[in-house]
């Protein structure tokens, strides 16, 4: 097939749609470059290493008996002045041993642990947090509030590393790095570990450089008292992404949100696709809700905040609508294949050529960023897009050797590797970008069937973890379009987190 420029308007339009589908990749690449410049624009110059605010830690807990005691013990043993750290466990009408564990902690650490119980719960994390905030803000002891989850384990210096940034009154909130640390390690966790490194260690550094953050980490966010009071003294309860709303409100109020990549804590992540789907569906729906609510701030310059920054807005929407970009590019390529194969060839080469380069660049950079992630998740990183996508990338990278290989392998399957076979293979490659998400959804469905569950890891290896995450986003679009009820589905945890 020979490359050629489009000769008709439809050909040009379809080619442009394919190239627009590459926007998320550009944003990702520029994000990595910005992350590399973090040293120039980090907040360490303005932080005061000696500043240690009085911190009230709010731990919402609904049936967290398996994790709570360990988390409390770790929190009480942190490298932070004991007279400046208090724990408020908000028991959201738990029906397991959570209340007993909390009461025992109150007895063991008098004056340092408080147990609040809600007799009527189930309304979601934001409501539970507000119950705790009302208690914390009732007196003037707390200078900062740390919001976390019951299963999150903080490294000894994490709270000190977060608190030092609040010495700068222009900072309203700080978040740490949440490392995936499920024990024992599981295959979902390895993918999530790499994903977290990309999204946090790379992209949140990039957002620090640009001066705006998209979302506070749900399990490791410290807010100054001044900021909390400025945003109303409570957490928003109208969306499924209360952390994102808090982030927006903080920055709209003229205060910065800072990410400290060295303030590390460990968290258990879902061990199955079904559990992960539940968690990610909630996040994706929440982000769609937040986008609707704050749509007027994007791409609009302001003297008070940087939420209107063009890179940030492009990053926000290209992440939120990544599946739409990919499906549009895939459909445009397939239609172009039927309309005019010359331009289709060029568009495909450009789109997938860029994908190949950025995959190599991005994966290498993120694995270099963190040794532990590299050691534990290198295979997940390499296979994140899935073996089918990797095959396409391999063809882009080494077309001659791959064509020669196909010429030897395909006849064993009864396929003559001629121009017709090549054309069909190309068409399938064009379609796969979009079809991968359907495959991702089918793999999730397979995880709901007991006898299929053992092969799900292999299916994810073929289809790709990335396409599964894209399928969740599409499910979120559908749920929001249908106006489905916003219910808070708790992520089930076993309480086993690596401690070293």
């Amino acid at each position: 097939m020979s490359a050629a420029l489009p000769t008709e308007p439809l050909g040009w339009l379809l080619s442009i749609i394919v190239l627009l589908g590459a926007i998320p990749m550009f944003v990702s690449a520029t994000g990595h470059v910005l992350a590399g410049l973090h040293r120039v624009r980090d907040h360490y110059r303005q932080a005061d290493g000696a500043y240690q605010p009085r911190v009230a830690v709010i731990v919402p807990a609904w049936n967290e008996a398996s994790v709570l005691e360990h988390s409390i013990e770790r929190m009480m043993a942190l490298d932070y002045p004991s007279d400046k750290l208090r724990l408020v466990v908000v028991d959201d009408a738990s029906t397991d041993d959570t209340p007993q564990i909390a009461r025992e902690a109150v007895r063991r650490y008098p004056g340092r642990v408080v147990h609040l119980r809600r007799e009527r719960g189930g309304q979601g994390k934001a409501h539970t947090l507000n119950h705790g905030l009302a208690h914390v803000l009732a007196d003037d002891w707390a200078e900062a509030v740390l919001i976390t989850d019951a299963d999150v384990v903080f490294t000894p210096t994490a709270i000190g590393r977060m608190g030092r940034h609040l010495a700068d009154p222009s900072v309203g909130a700080v978040m740490g790095f949440i490392r995936e640390a499920s024990e024992p390690a599981h295959w979902v966790g390895r993918y999530v570990g790499f994903e977290y490194a990309t999204a946090q260690l790379a992209m949140r550094r990039a957002q620090n450089v640009v001066g705006v953050q998209g979302c506070l980490a749900g399990g490791a966010q410290m807010l100054s008292r001044a900021n909390l009071e400025a945003i109303g003294g409570r957490i928003d309860t109208t969306t499924l992404a209360e952390d994102t709303v808090t982030t927006m409100q903080t920055q709209l109020g003229g205060r910065r949100v800072v990410f400290d990549p060295n303030a590390e804590c460990w968290a258990e992540e879902p061990a199955s696709l079904v559990a992960l789907w539940k968690q990610r569906l909630r996040w994706a729906r929440g982000n769609l809700q937040v986008t609707r609510r704050f749509r007027s701030v994007f791409f609009r310059r302001s003297n008070e905040h940087h939420l209107g920054n063009w890179w940030f807005g492009t990053m926000w929407f290209s992440t939120l609508y990544l599946p739409a970009f990919m499906i549009a590019a895939s459909v445009a390529l397939v239609v172009l294949w039927f309309v005019d194969q010359g331009p289709a060839h060029i568009a495909f080469q450009l789109y997938w050529g860029l994908s190949t380069l950025l995959f190599i660049f991005g994966t290498t950079f993120v694995l270099l960023l963190d040794r532990r992630v590299a050691y534990q998740s290198w295979l997940a990183a390499l296979t994140f897009p899935g073996l089918v996508n990797l095959l396409i990338l391999a063809v882009m990278l080494a077309p001659r050797p791959m064509d020669a290989l196909a010429g030897q392998v395909m006849p064993t399957f009864g396929v003559t590797w001629d121009d017709r076979a090549r054309a069909i293979a190309v068409l399938l490659a064009y379609a796969w970008t979009g079809a991968a998400m359907l495959a991702g959804w089918l793999v999730y469905r397979a995880d709901r069937v007991a006898w299929l569950r053992p092969v799900v890891p292999a299916l994810v290896l073929v289809v790709g973890f990335g396409p599964v995450l894209c399928a969740v986003s599409i499910a979120a679009y559908v749920a929001e379009a249908r106006g489905a009820a916003s219910t808070w589905d708790k992520t089930e945890k076993t309480g086993k987190v690596r401690t070293s």
């Binding site: 990595h32 590399g36 290493g49 000696a50 060295n262 660049f361 290498t364 960023l369 050797p401």
Partner: protein, 49 residues
């Protein structure tokens, strides 16, 4: 937290210095990733196209 206030102050400053140094290394990791990508791109053009 153990140690005198002076010890604690040194420790906090040490942490801050350590973290600032660590951020300097991020740029070198970015450069290395760029070098690896470029090398693979050159290899592609020379041998595999």
């Amino acid at each position: 937290m153990s140690g005198t206030p002076a010890d604690q102050g040194h420790k906090h400053l040490d942490l801050l210095t350590h973290d600032q140094r660590r951020e300097r290394s991020v740029l070198w990791r970015l450069v290395l990733a760029g070098v690896v990508t470029t090398a693979i791109g050159i290899a592609r053009q020379w041998w595999w196209v």
